[in-house]
Amino acid sequence: MRFVVALLIVALVAAGAWSFAVASAHGWWMPRQVSSYGGEVDRLFGVIGWIIAFFFVVVLGALAWIVVRGSAKRADRARFVHGDARIEMAWTLVPFAILVTIAFMQLSTWNTIQAERAHNGPPLARVLAAQFDWRFQYPGRDGRFDTADDFEVPYRLVVPVNERVVLALQSRDVIHGFFVPAFRLKQDVVPGTVLTTWFEATEPGDYDLVCTQLCGFGHYRMSGKIKVVARADYDAWIEQQERDLESNGREAQR
């Protein structure tokens, strides 16, 4: 039985290692990051991940080894020991040092994501979250919200590449979660208050947006896209939307 237990524990370690090793090949992994601070988050995750992996292997390996040795009928009696202050000290202080190191290591990233949001300038668009849709309101040509040339688009937020994009997150019903995996960005959208968040996409493309905070029975289908385009395309798109706003319903199909 002791070898069975050891095998189980070793198998757990192996399965853990295997599942993480094969995961990225199947896409069961973080999507490629394309935002200014995504790299920082990924690096941090990598460092913490390796620390975790190290302790995972060491602790479980030690457990397996101890079980195999301890259940062999070697000694008549176990070692009679109640503790050891020095060892206790060691395995209190070493993890403490590691934990504190990790804690302080990630402060600057946290600051980048969160604290800097206060002085980021006016929002590019308002994100209007509602059960179970994302809609985006743009200020239009004049750059001011709540004027006649505002327009709304559902599903797809269009933003310029390599520019700091500030969003004002609003909800009129329940709490939603604004999550763009490729940007490593997540921020709850809380009704009754306007929260801002920001990102800077580094590559053009379509990136998925999902809702991460339970918002009702349709939570699973509440998704959208962030379409990152070059500045010129962005301006052209705004212009096209403005023209659509002036449509007289004759030339357009809808």
Binding site: W28, W91, W110
Partner: protein, 591 residues
């Protein structure tokens, strides 16, 4: 076998409404086992939906959705995970640990005849019945049971129009939660008082078995944190019923409806989150501290070796208990809370990882050099340590705020807390069951079936929860009824199918435990079972109750080379107090 000398109950009513702690403990066992079955079936229904969304669900679909292809509705899915979480936390894990094990073990371990407040104790169990009745009633009211998650975030939970279950189900859910809170409160006051006042002579605090320490710290957490949840629950109830605006912002538009929130002039949804997590984070420790204590006992007894570092273990429990009140904000890193508060909560969260890691190292050291008997109880305890390590380590990644921003509300979190609660605590509960079954029921469970039970449970638990980490890293959010509705997650299907099969396997595997109970119950009593102390354990619950006994040493005196046997019982038989025996003060167990 039973140490108490209670008089024989006279009638069935008296036997059922008993104030006897062991009877109450067994009642808790039965009730929680039943709820575990219900919660487990709900988990299976969810897993079915996650692997094969919008397909005919066996049994459930036929009964509830006969006209729409026997496919569960997304609303019913939200009910499922809400009820699964609520049942597993408030009606399975907490009652099993504090109610069942607490009642069966605390008096016996501290050498008390009874609880300090036996009748209060009885009430704490019987309040659970209306609590469960409220929970079940939710399924039969208009709108169905609560469907805003076990976290009940406002305004999803406070506004009737926001979710089907928020019509009436949420009210019943709040009542169920409040009643179960009353139950926990009565139980916890009782445990704290009992441990504080009814210890037998010589049983100093530093001679308490770690199980008692775990239960004591858990009960203290309950006593201090529960009022906050109860108050929060009442505020939410008043938001729902008399339309006050504690948690409900004004000017809501839900669908096309303008909810009647006349009293609201801008309530704060975050306030509910603070109140909720101020209790529910400590509740997480309520769900693990007794398990840690029980595992420490089981490891020590079956390794025939003293617990390594008893005092650090106690301090670690106490530290978790105190720090447990300071970390609730780590559930709210992305909620829009001030980033400065986020930093503070991140630091306290890293700190709380420390005592847990100390405990893991101490468990390893306890086993190291031990003479390990791989009984079923020991196997489950070792399994607990292994799975707790996995859950604990992933907690470190979750504590780092920038990483948490990415994995928050994804399946990484689901994997993390299931490794702790389902992998960790449930395995510890099985360890405790195998270990104390002879003490509680006078029978020993079948070891062979127990080992088979362990191997399958351990393997399948990992099969179910390990790959959830990858799902979460791929960005898959929690509480999604159909992961493949978004193209981004379509490729995750094979993983979910695998997890679902593993979950079905894990559920069916518990059949071996049920079979074990049946086999044990049906077979004849063996002569070995007349032995009141089959494990040769040193702590008090294994020796006959004797009001005059005197505790002379710590609970883990195994393997003393100077002793005739490899264990020394914690107490010495009672002597006439007037005989002038000098009180022998033995050294504390930790040197």
């Amino acid at each position: 076998m039973n140490a108490t000398d209670r008089s024989a109950p006279t009638s069935a009513i008296r036997r059922i409404f008993s104030a006897d702690h062991e009877t109450i403990g067994k009642q808790y066992f039965a009730l929680s086992a039943l709820m575990l079955l219900v919660g487990g079936l709900m988990a299976l229904a969810m897993r079915w939906q996650l692997a094969w969304p919008w397909t005919e669900m066996p049994i459930v679909g036929r009964i509830l959705f006969p006209d729409t292809g026997r496919v569960i509705s997304p609303g019913f899915y939200t009910v499922l995970f809400t009820m699964h979480g609520t049942i597993m936390i408030f009606f399975v894990i907490i009652p099993l640990l504090t109610g069942a094990f607490g009642n069966c073990l605390i008096p016996a371990m501290i050498g008390a005849r009874e609880m300090a407040f036996p009748r209060l104790n009885m009430w704490s169990f019987w309040v659970m019945i209306p609590a469960i009745a409220c929970l079940v009633a939710g399924f039969f009211v208009e709108g169905g049971a609560a469907s805003s998650g076990w976290t009940g975030y406002a305004p999803l939970s406070t506004v009737a129009e926001a979710a089907p279950g928020s019509l009436h189900g949420q009210t019943l859910w709040l009542m169920a939660l409040t009643l179960s809170g009353v139950s926990s409160m009565l139980g916890s006051i009782n445990y704290v008082t009992t441990i504080a006042t009814l210890r037998v002579s010589g049983m100093t605090m530093m001679r308490l078995p770690l199980t008692v320490w775990g239960l004591l710290t858990a009960a203290s957490l309950q006593v201090l944190a529960l009022p906050v949840l109860t108050a929060g629950g009442l505020l939410q109830l008043s938001d729902r019923i008399v339309h006050t605006g504690f948690f409900t912002p004004s000017n809501l538009v839900i669908g096309g409806a303008y909810p009647d929130i006349t009293g609201s002039t801008g309530g704060s949804p975050l306030l509910w989150q603070h109140l909720f997590w101020f209790y529910s984070h400590p509740a997480v420790y309520v769900m693990i501290l007794p398990a840690m204590g029980m595992v420490s006992d089981v490891l020590s007894v079956h390794a025939r070796k003293p617990v390594f570092g008893y005092r650090p273990m106690v301090w670690a429990l106490a530290a978790i208990c105190v720090l447990g009140f300071l970390v609730w904000g780590h559930h709210m890193f992305v909620s829009g809370m001030s980033p400065a508060a986020g930093t503070a909560f991140m630091l306290s969260t890293f700190l709380i990882a420390l005592p847990s890691s100390v405990k893991v190292f101490n468990w390893l050291a306890t086993l190291w050099g031990g003479r390990i008997h791989l009984t079923s109880a020991m196997l489950f305890a070792i399994g607990f340590v292994a799975l707790f390590v996995v859950g604990g380590l992933s907690g470190i990644a979750l504590a780092a705020t920038p990483v948490d921003v990415y994995v928050h509300d994804t399946y990484v979190v689901v994997a993390h807390f299931h490794y702790i609660v389902a992998g960790g605590t449930l395995l510890a509960i099985f360890a405790g069951t195998y270990h104390w079954f002879p003490r509680i029921f006078g029978r020993r469970l079948d070891e062979r079936l127990g080992r088979i039970h362990f191997v399958g449970t351990f393997v399948l638990t990992n099969c179910v929860f390990l790959m959830m980490h990858q799902l979460g890293l791929a960005g898959l959010m929690r509480r999604t009824a159909d992961p493949y509705a978004v193209d981004l997650f379509a490729h995750l299907r094979p993983v979910n199918v695998f997890i679902t099969w593993s979950a079905i396997g894990l559920f069916v595997w518990q059949f071996f435990f049920v079979a074990n109970l049946i086999v044990t119950w049906r077979r004849a009593r063996t002569s070995a079972e007349n032995d009141p102390n089959p494990w040769r354990a040193a702590s008090l619950e294994w020796s006959a109750f004797d009001p005059a006994m005197r505790v002379v040493r710590g609970p883990y005196e195994y393997a003393d080379p100077g002793a005739p046997e490899d264990w020394k019982p914690q107490s010495e038989p009672g002597v006439n107090a007037g005989a002038g025996v000098v009180h022998r003060v033995s050294s504390p167990p930790s040197k």
